[in-house]
Amino acid sequence: MKKTGSQILLECLRLEGVDTVFGYPGGTVINIYDDLMDSPIKHILNRHEQAAVHAADAYARVSGKVGVAIATSGPGATNTVTGIATAYMDSIPMVIISGQVPTPLIGNDAFQEADMIGITRPITKHNYLVRDVKDLARIVKQAFYIARTGRPGPVLIDLPKDVQMDSTTFEYPETVELRGYKPTVAANPRQLEKAAKMILAARKPVVYVGGGATLSDMSDELLKFVEAIQAPVTTTLMGMASFPKTHPLSMGMLGMHGTFYANMAVTNSDLLIALGARFDDRVTGKIATFAPHAKIIHVDVDPTSIKKNVRVDLPVVGMLEDVLPRLTEKVQRDQGELKDTVEATQPWRDQIVEWKEQHPMSYKQTKSTIKPQYVIEKLRELTEDDAIIATEVGQHQMWTAQFFDFSQPRTFVTSGGLGTMGFGLPAALGAQAAFPERQVIDISGDGSFQMNSQELATLVQYRLPVKIVILNNNFLGMVRQWQQLFFDKRYSQTCMELPIDFVKLAEAYGATGLRATKVEEVGDVIKKALETPGPVIMEFKVSREENVLPMVPAGAGLNEMVLAS
């Protein structure tokens, strides 16, 4: 039986196991939306295409499935760009469907036309312009395969309106044939052998874990590996929830706003074992003084990540699913040797405990004003272990990374690479859509929140009970902090002078608004919010000029931290 392009698209999505899509209708996707009414796929109508992409992105981050978003051509499609770039930088598997003007009009500056293939080329893992309905099923199959395999990433399918209307016999291909795409899966055994040798010989090892561990669901294997070799662990922002922060070997995050002890450990280590991390500049600080005494083993599925920013002594190209179990097995082969290594690294672990005692993560608690860090600690105390925390970008994001003790994988949803303000609210929405029964919290600042606050409408409409924490300091806090420290306190355009009544804003959308202005109200507001059905905004009036510390100034080495204001 023949099907139209739009029917084929929806049927392919269903066969790929897609149950929820996020999007916004428009002229060139009206056929898809018409057929959507007859499809079992649930559609969530966001209030902005950027938010639809962030929601689909977060849906993927928490569920491990491929997220799907739909937007119309022209402005609808260009609105997705920030969302796609966010997913690309954090390697999130997504398929974005953009409508396109009919093929005869492409290139004619038609109404609502934009060259999405050109625009998204540098921010997608791959993209397709579908020119013939006969190619559509194959392209969708390939798009999902490319999005989720190897180093995952977003794939865009630009689908002209006439192709959606054309018909053909539908057949979904069973296999994918891409001769130019063969993601490396199994690591070279000789490299693994060398890695095991280096690990057993190290006396000051540090395991440095990135988003790859989250994406590959390797938390359990990671724990086994780390406990076998008893090496201290530091994570990036993206790797954070994949290793429990409460574990004695955890040192929290490293880098610009990393812990004192993680940065000291990296600087003094003799072996850095990088697992699915890419040595981002926010992680390394000044390259010349990064881990100066360490040999570096870099395990990554993407060969382009290796030796991109730092010298690497032993590259291991492979999936963590393959590498971690094999590496653990290799280091455990000679139990006597492993025991010797663990004993010989005891002074190193003692040293780290000493650093932890010297400069633990802390902030000055006051009676008069609410400290943002306190809100985050209190939130951790009052939420479930499997609560999903989304954040926007800025000070509140770093405080969350520093003070929220994540213990379960895929519970921290944040824009790490691109650093997209306005990500958190739609991301929380997408996470809640994936797990309607779990607690989902968006931690935000007053600046970021206003970048996608229209999504309150979506939350209320779909009864997605996201709880929103706004740490309101009436500042664009992170930029203000830089201005304070490096620009002589000249607060150029960072003061959000118009105070917003966030409680009323919540109420305007039919959500609940709560506010705390005193320290003693914090716990009660959080408790009340968690008990209230439906979306809730919790506005906390926090101390205005609090800084995120420690801080490694841009261009400085990791050991040159500013520890106190």
Partner: protein, 165 residues
């Protein structure tokens, strides 16, 4: 440093900007580029000559390999290869220089492909060095137009690209 790279790609629309974007995005100029289908019509072969820092070039080569439409990348930098470029040149040929143009063409084994009372158009093939030398000899006679194909290269030895590394 100068690098010559062959890139075997899917013969489809939209592949060229993916490849060239990796160079332009890093501020690398492509000195020359030539593309045409291979024995297998579904595969095109690009020959790219570029100049730049080795480390950045290694990164570009890896990124090229990562492109879905790229089937194989061969960096000829440290390899033994044969290189040929084609030149078409329109030279002023008035009465007093007509014989000289033909003499130079003869030395370089260039062919005359078009003649007018005032000009000769020549076609020559050779290494880029040979092409440069020919252009320099013709320059004093008056060059009207020079078109170069950019070099294409082939690895030495019996093996084809499918088995080469």
């Amino acid at each position: 440093m100068k690098h010559t790279i062959s890139v075997l790609v899917e013969n489809e629309f939209g592949v060229l900007p993916r490849v060239s974007g990796l160079f332009s995005g890093r501020g690398f100029n492509i000195d020359s580029l030539s593309v045409a289908p291979t024995l297998d019509e579904s595969i095109s072969r690009m020959t790219i000559v570029t100049t730049g820092d080795d480390r950045i070039l290694e990164q570009i080569t890896k990124q090229l390999n990562k492109l879905i439409d790229v089937i194989k990348v061969i960096d000829f930098t440290d390899q033994d290869f044969v290189e040929r470029e084609m030149l078409m040149v329109k030279v002023t040929a008035e009465a007093e220089t007509r014989a000289e143009v033909l003499r130079i063409a003869d030395i370089f084994r260039a062919n005359v492909v078009d003649v007018t009372p005032k000009s000769y158009s020549l076609e020559a093939t050779g290494t880029p060095q040979k092409i440069n030398a020919l252009i320099e000899l013709l320059r004093p006679l008056g060059l009207k137009e020079v078109v170069r194909s950019g070099p294409i290269v082939l690895g030495r030895g019996a093996k084809g690209w499918k088995n080469s590394e």
